[in-house]
């Protein structure tokens, strides 16, 4: 199968469980290596990347998950700063950039809270802030609204849309009909590892 997502595009990956959505995202992050074929992110051939150069890829690709994956013993701003610390950004840059991003995701007043003091939606905002803080080319989201109720999901989608408007490509795997239907964006449907549908302004599916 071949899928191409243009720079700056917003695309949904849909399909039943086991259809390969998460695997595709994991391939893009080089968490898995394809048995055959090639995966490109920008000009990087991900499937042929050496171990040593994986960090270069991941510094250009942000990712968000259903279970947030925040560090429980660090505050909101520390969680976001973490992503910059590990890639060795200087302290003054971190001090400047982190509050900006927290404002962008609407958590400006909660910088010093711990993750467990936040609601699910707020935790996901922190995760998005962390994924976005070093301005990645691509944002990968694996069912980011899977643990959230409808209204909160909608807010998260608005946030992702805002990030998309800054020029970041967003690729989101989801099961959520309502969201896909309301956004009217490109939809790629997978089934058993094959692309069965690819529409530029699609809905989740007919007859569901």
């Amino acid at each position: 199968m071949t899928i191409e997502v243009e720079k700056g595009e917003f695309a949904f990956l849909i399909g039943p469980s086991g259809s390969g959505k998460s695997t595709l995202l994991r391939l893009l992050l080089r968490e898995e290596v394809p048995s055959k074929g090639d995966v490109y992110v920008a000009d990087l051939n991900v499937s042929k990347l050496s171990q040593r150069r994986i960090p270069q890829l991941r510094q250009r690709v942000g990712c968000v998950f259903q279970d947030f994956r925040l560090l429980g013993n660090k505050t909101v701003s520390e969680n976001v700063a973490f992503a910059l610390e590990v890639i060795g950004k200087p302290r003054h840059t971190i001090r400047k950039v982190v509050p900006e991003v927290l404002d962008l995701v609407g958590l400006g007043g909660k910088a010093d809270r711990l993750p467990h003091e936040l609601s699910g939606g707020e935790q996901q905002r922190v995760a998005i802030a962390r994924a976005f803080v070093n301005r990645p080319l691509v944002l990968l989201a694996d069912e980011p609204t899977g643990n959230l109720d409808r209204d909160i999901s909608h807010e998260i989608m608005l946030l992702l849309e805002r990030i998309n408007r800054t020029g970041t490509t967003v690729l989101m795997a989801t099961h959520d009909h309502a969201i896909v239907d309301s956004m009217r964006r490109r939809v790629v449907e997978l089934h058993l590892g094959q692309v069965v549908r690819d529409e530029s302004r699609g809905v989740y599916g007919v007859g569901r």
Binding site: P55, Q56, R58, Q59, L71, F82, V86, I87, R91, R130
Partner: protein, 300 residues
């Protein structure tokens, strides 16, 4: 890469597994302490050997006939023996000791025991040629060449007793090293285990770090530094242990032996010349163990 960040990670890791950290440091310390002890024994033995072998003599005892009739080593038999000894390889000097001189020395040695002196007669003591060897290992050649020659009673080597003594000391040293080695094995396994445990308890964090683009080196450096810290701490503790051992045990128990200069005194300079070796071995071996553990067992 920011140092403060890495060090706070190291501190967290050590605190979180505090019991393992303590066990790791203690076993490392004991192992390194034994290694240090062994090295000190080696230094002492080397110094003793140097001093002792300089003092020992190979003695060629002359026959009763020569002892009685040739008080100045002027007979052809005696002077020939003396000449041949002097020209033998490895011989530094040859001194003739007459029966009278031997008796005088005997009296001097046993002046504290008059009843023994009363019993002794000069006739019981042989005259001898006392040979100082520049190379103590040449003794067997001398013994072979001069035993059974006319005028010679027997050839003895004081070095033989020394060799027995040093064999015993060598045994002591080897035993110390063997125990140190077994301890070292335990220390290595503990370090490896702690590094694995550390990596496991922080696998979520490491996973997130990896996803945000941290290099493998960056995520694993804290674990490596933990091992390095434990090794160095163990080394320091071992050095403290050696100093305490010297003050509390060696100096007290062996005071008489040191006084009599039988064993060269163990100084602080000895301990401090061994100290850097212990620190280095501790730190390098621990870091290497940590590195191999991460390579072999921790895949993130």
């Amino acid at each position: 890469m920011r140092a403060s960040f890495v060090f706070s990670e190291v501190a967290t890791g050590l605190r979180r597994n505090v019991t393992m950290t303590v066990a790791m440091i203690l076993t490392t310390a004991i192992s390194l302490g034994l290694l240090g002890g062994g090295l000190l024994v080696v230094r002492t033995i080397d110094r003793m050997q140097l001093e002792y072998y300089q003092r020992v003599e190979t003695v060629v005892y002359l026959s009763a006939d020569l002892s009685a009739n040739d008080p100045g080593c002027t007979s052809s038999t005696c002077s020939a023996l003396r000449g041949q000894l002097e020209s033998s390889p490895g011989v530094q000097s040859v001194i003739f000791e007459s029966r009278q001189a031997a008796f005088a020395r005997f009296q001097r040695i046993f002046q504290g025991q008059p009843e023994l002196l009363q019993l002794a007669r000069p006739e019981a003591l042989p005259a001898s040629l006392r040979v100082q060897l520049s190379d103590p290992s040449r003794f067997p050649d001398i013994a072979k060449a001069f035993s059974g020659r006319p005028g010679v009673d027997r050839v003895t080597d004081q070095g033989e007793y020394l060799r027995q003594l040093f064999r015993a000391l060598d045994g002591l040293r080897n035993a110390t090293f063997v125990i140190a080695l077994i301890q070292a094995l335990a220390a290595l396994l503990l370090i490896s285990n702690t590094v694995q445990l550390s990596a496991f308890t922080r696998r979520t964090e490491v996973g997130i770090m990896r996803l945000t683009g941290a290099s493998r080196w960056y995520t694993q450096l804290p674990f490596l530094l933990e091992a390095l810290f434990a090794g160095a701490a163990g080394g320091l503790l071992a050095i403290v242990g050696l100093v305490v051992g010297k003050v509390a045990f060696v100096d007290r128990v062996l005071a008489g032996v040191f006084e009599a200069a039988i064993v060269p005194r163990l100084g602080y300079d000895d301990i401090f010349s061994v100290a850097p070796i212990l620190l280095l071995v501790g730190a390098v071996v621990a870091a290497l163990t940590g590195y191999l553990t991460l390579r072999l067992y921790v895949r993130t």
